[in-house]
Amino acid sequence: GESVGLHLPTLSVQEGDNSIINCAYSNSASDYFIWYKQESGKGPQFIIDIRSNMDKRQGQRVTVLLNKTVKHLSLQIAATQPGDSAVYFCAETPSMNNNAGNMLTFGGGTRLMVKP
């Protein structure tokens, strides 16, 4: 498949370590934030989301932190595994109540490489 993220910033971690991937967003109207994982040749895969009325949300081995003051989002992956190797994108969307759907605005992405 095609290669994703040839020129993306890269985070290299040892298997078993924790990983932290950061994202800055610019739209203060954004109300809903999502982290996606994209492996080479595949489409983005939903990992975890968070609404702006929260500052932390936990899933299985993943935690998302939101700091609205500085418009910063982070994804923490506990006990990183080789299967976590991929490009990670944050995405944002303003939350509207008109049920007209909302396009996602994606950040630039970070490549995570897990060394066995």
């Binding site: 498949g1 095609e2 290669s3 994703v4 993220g5 040839l6 020129h7 993306l8 109300d31 809903y32 999502i34 996606y36 040749g41 595949k42 489409g43 983005p44 895969q45 939903f46 989301d49 609404r51 994108f89 995405a91 969307t93 303003p94 939350s95 509207m96 109540n97 049920n99 007209a100 759907g101 909302n102 396009m103 996602l104 605005t105 994606f106 950040g107 630039g108 992405g109």
Partner: protein, 115 residues
């Protein structure tokens, strides 16, 4: 169940040719989105359908790009007179409802290369 599927997975076109890219969303999903992903970048929004209605086409880069979803299920993205700058991965996503926080599920994409 089956996820979002797209065809073809790879398409090579000569500059000036027309192409048609197909998206089969998850069955029953109301919302359908098209995104364009250049190499090394995040996806960028092109257009949005709610059932058969195209509610937002603000991301389409030129009038050479046209999308349709005539029966509210399968969608086709057509690019006329392709240019080299159209080379990218075209991603389709669908969500169950039209709510702002409904999870978008992505297909594998179509890699378009314009020579």
């Amino acid at each position: 169940g089956a996820g979002v599927s797209q065809s073809p997975r790879y398409k090579v076109a000569k500059r000036g040719q027309d192409v048609a890219l197909r998206c089969d969303p998850i069955s029953g999903h109301v919302s359908l989105f098209w995104y364009q992903q250049a190499l090394g970048q995040g996806p960028e929004f092109l257009t949005y359908f709610q059932n058969e209605a195209q509610l937002d086409k603000s991301g389409l880069p030129s009038d050479r790009f046209f999308a349709e979803r005539p029966e509210g299920s399968v969608s086709t993205l057509k690019i006329q007179r392709t240019q080299q700058e159209d080379s990218a991965v075209y991603l389709c996503a669908s969500s169950l409802r039209a709510g702002s926080t409904d999870t978008q599920y992505f297909g594998p994409g179509t890699r378009l290369t314009v020579l």
